[in-house]
């Protein structure tokens, strides 16, 4: 590769990185945290969670009867989704959609006590924190957010490729190089070291990110070019699971067959866990139920089995391995989420996700270092990039901390689906403004960073200390939540400590450099 090509690629790599850094940082931070979604839900709901499971659990038919007595108008092709009680979710979770006379659809989510079958006042939507972080990861909670994230991921893919081309020649010889003399060298060597080390991970994330958000373009183009617009034929060829398509017959059947189906599935698939059941035309002779099974530590974990509600007979079984496209899609998805490797792999993914955040920040810092001594460079432009970089690092930390505080302390009368995203974006906005006001001078921006780091440390420490005080005053989380509560609180405390130590270090460094400059000035005079 000649020098001009490398220069062009470096130029594109630097500018694209700077442009997409804002969105990419939120996507990576929220994605890394979302690896622990279920732990965060448990932490979030610890003061309101239902009692643990007792030995006697009411059968699923009782829950189906309860829903039936409410006389909802549920279209036959809309499933009634039921998640059966497990040790970490000791209640029946149900979700379904009803249709009004005007053809409008209304979502319902009901939870039933596993021991009595009574409707629980517990509403999963009140614990929105982990869902919000996940939605920020996939769509930034913006209109057309999925497409925006898709385009950003495509540009990230280009950056991964251009990055490989840039370091290719010196990949082996300079891999262990880590110079500590100048800031620019530290950022550059760190950027290369982390970038090359985490390459398989970043490649998979870039590929799967484009696949999740933009493969619709490939699907549509392929559908028109090959299947002449017959998209259902394309989907059939791709071999993805298709939900049952049934109609009401008007002849009711007993819901007790559902109990038989669960027993049968548990006997036939002893290594699988029932993730959820989806009832179509519930309580009707034509009704069918899709049972979704999960096999732990498998790259293609999901198996779907369809049973008839009339006589509990098995109709069909589906596994993504049956079709190459569905299998490839599922394997790539598993590689994205890292579920197959258990908690250990999740921690590794989390660290690699933070490694990507480091790449984004060092990329921006390199851009700044290169242009700071250039007299032709606009000072305002530089100041904005400095402020943006600060808001992306400490600002995102503050935003995450504020979301945790909002989730813990806001009264339930405040809708969390509105409150938490507002808090998140306001925190980033305030951090950006604070950084902008201090961004014209090098010393001031460093002080702003110290202030924001200390603010983040305090904010992250609030929830663990509150929980600790509650424990001292006699509150004890349910045993099935305890591990997750401890894990999340420890993680929050660790981040608080990290912010505090970094802030202290930066404060000491800025103090030392200030005294150095005073000494230099006095010696010159």
């Amino acid at each position: 590769m000649n020098k001009t090509t490398l220069k062009n690629l470096t130029h594109a790599h630097a500018w694209l990185g700077l442009i997409i850094s804002g969105v990419l940082m939120i996507v990576f931070v929220c994605g890394s945290i979302s690896l622990f979604r279920h732990n965060i839900i448990h932490w979030d709901s610890q003061y309101h969670a239902p009692d643990p499971l007792s030995e006697q659990i009411v059968p699923i038919s009782t829950i189906l009867d309860k829903i039936a007595t409410q006389e909802h108008n549920i279209p036959a092709h809309h499933g009634v989704l039921i998640s059966i009680p497990q040790s970490d979710q000791p209640y029946y979770y149900t979700a379904f959609e009803t249709e009004t006379a005007d053809g409008l659809h209304i979502d319902h989510q009901l939870n039933f006590d596993a021991n009595t079958g009574q409707l629980l006042p517990y509403n999963g939507e009140d614990f929105y924190l982990s869902d919000m972080l996940y939605l920020l990861h996939i769509s930034l909670l913006l209109p057309y957010g999925t497409e925006i994230v898709g385009v950003i991921t495509l540009l990230f893919f280009v950056m991964v490729m251009s990055g490989i081309c840039i370091v290719l020649k010196k990949l082996v010889s300079h891999f262990y190089q880590y110079r500590l003399n100048k800031n620019k060298d530290i950022y550059h060597d760190g950027h290369t070291l982390i970038g090359v080390s985490s390459l398989p991970f970043t490649f998979i994330f870039a590929l799967t990110g484009v696949m999740f958000n933009l493969s619709i373009v490939l699907q549509a183009g392929f559908g028109f070019a090959v299947f002449k617009g017959d998209i259902p034929a394309l989907i059939k060829t791709a071999g993805f699971f298709g939900q049952p398509n049934v109609e009401y017959s008007g002849n009711p059947v007993s819901n007790t067959h559902a109990n038989t189906i669960i027993k049968d599935v548990q006997e036939k698939y002893p290594n699988h866990k029932i993730a959820r059941l989806n009832f179509f035309a519930m309580g009707d002779e034509n009704g069918e139920v899709e049972v979704r099974l999960i096999e732990h530590n498998a790259l293609i974990p999901t198996t779907h089995v369809i049973y008839s509600l009339k006589d509990a007979s098995l109709i069909s079984e589906y596994h993504a391995q049956q079709a190459p496209t569905a299998a490839t899609y599922t394997v790539l998805s598993s590689l994205h989420f890292g579920e197959f490797g258990g908690i250990t792999l999740k921690f590794i993914y989390f660290i690699l996700g933070l490694g990507c955040c480091y790449l984004i920040l060092t990329g921006n810092l390199l851009w700044l270092e290169k242009r700071e001594n250039n007299r032709q460079q606009s000072k305002r432009g530089l100041a904005f990039v400095k402020a943006m970089t600060l808001a992306l690092s400490t600002g995102t930390l503050i935003a995450v901390a504020c979301s945790f505080i909002g989730a813990r302390f806001a009264p339930f009368s405040w809708t969390r689906t509105d409150l938490l995203p507002t808090l998140f974006f306001c925190a980033i906005g305030i951090s950006l403004l604070h950084a902008l006001f201090n961004s014209m001078q090098r010393k001031a921006i460093r002080q702003a960073m110290v202030q924001q780091l200390l603010a983040a440390a305090v904010l992250f420490a609030i929830c663990p200390f509150y929980d600790l005080i509650q424990v001292l005053f006699g509150h004890a989380p349910h045993p099935y939540l305890l591990l997750d509560v401890i894990l999340v609180n420890c993680a929050l405390l660790l981040v608080a400590l990290f912010c505090f130590s970094l802030g202290k270090h930066q404060h000491a460094t800025s103090g030392a450099s200030a005294s150095e400059s005073i000494t230099l000035k006095s010696s010159v005079s």
């Binding site: 690629l9 893919f157 484009v210 490939l218 183009g221 090959v226 490839t328």
Partner: protein
């Protein structure tokens, strides 16, 4: 940068869609496999074509590279589209 971005984006998109489409029309019995490989290689080739366009010295060269990636694929696809039966018969 805008020229390079759009040149890569458009030609990469054409390349990504039409290469697996041409192969599928030629080998209708292997559509599932081609689509599966397309998820990995076609999506990667989109980013690859974009990277190639970004590596160009000038905007004109970027559009030239875009044409080199897209035009042969369009011509080959058009020929196959009107001659091969494809999976729909």
């Amino acid at each position: 940068m805008w020229h390079k971005t759009f040149a890569g984006l458009i030609s990469g998109l054409i390349f990504m869609v039409l290469v697996p489409s041409s192969l599928s029309l030629l080998m209708p019995s292997q559509v599932g496999l081609i689509l599966a490989l397309g998820l990995i290689f076609a999506l990667s080739s989109w980013a690859g074509v974009m990277t190639w366009c970004y590596a160009a010295n000038t905007n004109k060269q970027a559009w030239g590279r875009a044409a080199k990636a897209a035009l042969p694929v369009i011509l080959i696809f058009t020929g196959i589209f009107f001659t091969a039966a494809g999976p729909t018969g």
